[in-house]
């Protein structure tokens, strides 16, 4: 099983605590239909596990087949710079078929971002490097498509399209983490 080469750190977007017993990392692409499918399943897992789960999203845009993917990833970062990474992340998946620049600017407006700054940073490719760094870190960790999940640093090759199975795998990881911490 492939381990996560670049550990979760302050540079990541994390929903939950670094100390959570289960840290789920997704390498995803905002224009990928499978990632879109995974989006509500991850949400359900977050609800089911509560504070037991921390979710980290890293960019893995397959730009040659998904024309809007890199720019959408940059938009999420630009929103993140204004404290709204997750609302933009959700918006992008919920509007996957509308990822042109004017759509992105609209979403920025809806999320009450400083749209002038958002537009400027997007135009200047301010976060392109961050997106590419995420992509490279994914390649190094054996990401072979999107979405690819890592549970507590190990690639999860199991079922995720069935939410119940996915949540059971995460709960199992939580149990394991608790056992280990009780021992340690």
């Amino acid at each position: 099983m492939s381990p996560l080469v670049i550990p979760v750190s302050e540079r990541d977007h994390i929903a939950g605590s670094f100390d959570a017993p289960v840290v789920l990392v997704e390498y995803g692409d905002f224009e990928c239909p499978y990632c879109r499918r995974a989006h509500p399943i991850v949400k359900a897992a977050q609800r089911a596990l509560g504070k037991e789960l921390a979710f980290v999203f890293r960019h893995f845009p397959l730009a040659e087949i998904h024309r809007h993917a890199t720019q959408a990833a940059e938009a999420a970062e630009a929103a993140g710079a204004q404290g709204k990474f997750w609302p933009m992340h959700d918006t992008l998946y919920e509007h996957q078929d509308a990822l042109e620049v004017e759509d992105l600017l609209n979403y920025a407006g809806t999320l009450e971002l400083d749209v002038t700054r958002f537009a400027r940073e997007l135009a200047h490719g301010e976060y392109l490097r961050k997106v590419r760094d995420d992509f490279r870190s994914g390649v190094r960790s054996g990401v072979n498509g999107t979405p690819t999940f890592f549970i507590n640093g190990q690639r999860y090759d199991g079922e995720w399209t069935d939410g119940a199975v996915f949540i059971a795998a995460l709960e199992q990881a939580a149990k394991l983490a608790h056992t280990e911490s009780a021992r340690g």
């Binding site: 397959l62 040659e64 992509f135 390649v139 072979n144 498509g145």
Partner: protein, 181 residues
């Protein structure tokens, strides 16, 4: 005996230290590529079963994205399957691929056989990766389960190790393989 028979059915791909067999295959309906013409560069040979199959799609798309990283090592990436050149043209266009796809089409699978990467019965090549150094010596090879996209981490590690030990300073095993060929 039964176990042996079972094992013999599996492909045994060429391993590290072996001189990569040379070949010439169509890279387009009117163009051919000879492996030895790439000497001086690291070469990544990607055998895959077929154009259009879903896992290959992901694999070719992934390599297409990482091409610039491969090229930072001066490496050339070449895909090989038993599909004909016209099929490759349509596939490469549809995926916007920026590296050549070679047709191991006539005689079918001849090159895959030389690398131990042909699936008798299926009539396709295996999903197998070979990284060659600038002298054409195989420095790393990997046979993936047919339905699993092997990713690119192994390729990048192999290229890194070649970069740290440039061509001409190969290990003794590969030197033996060279003198033997």
């Amino acid at each position: 005996m039964a176990q042996q028979a079972e094992r013999s059915k599996q492909s045994k791909i060429l391993g590290a230290g072996t001189q990569a067999p040379d070949f010439e295959l169509p890279s387009a309906p009117d163009k051919k590529l000879r492996l030895s013409s790439l000497r001086g560069h690291a070469v990544i040979l990607v055998f895959y079963p077929a154009d259009w199959s879903p896992v290959c799609g992901d694999q070719t798309a992934l390599y297409n994205e990482i091409l610039s990283d491969f090229r930072e090592y001066g490496a050339e990436l070449v895909g090989i399957s038993v599909d004909g050149p016209w099929c490759h043209v349509a596939f490469a266009n549809s995926r916007n691929l920026h590296y050549p796809l070679l047709s191991d089409f006539e005689p079918k699978g001849e090159v895959a056989r030389k690398y131990g990467a042909y699936r008798e019965g299926d009539g396709t090549s295996e999903r197998a990766l070979f990284v060659l150094d600038g002298d054409g010596v195989i420095r790393w090879s990997y046979l993936s389960p047919i339905d699993v996209n092997p990713g690119a981490d192994g390729i990048l590690q192999a290229l890194e190790s070649i970069a740290h030990r440039p061509a001409g300073t190969s290990t003794s095993t590969s030197a033996e393989a060279r003198s033997g060929s």
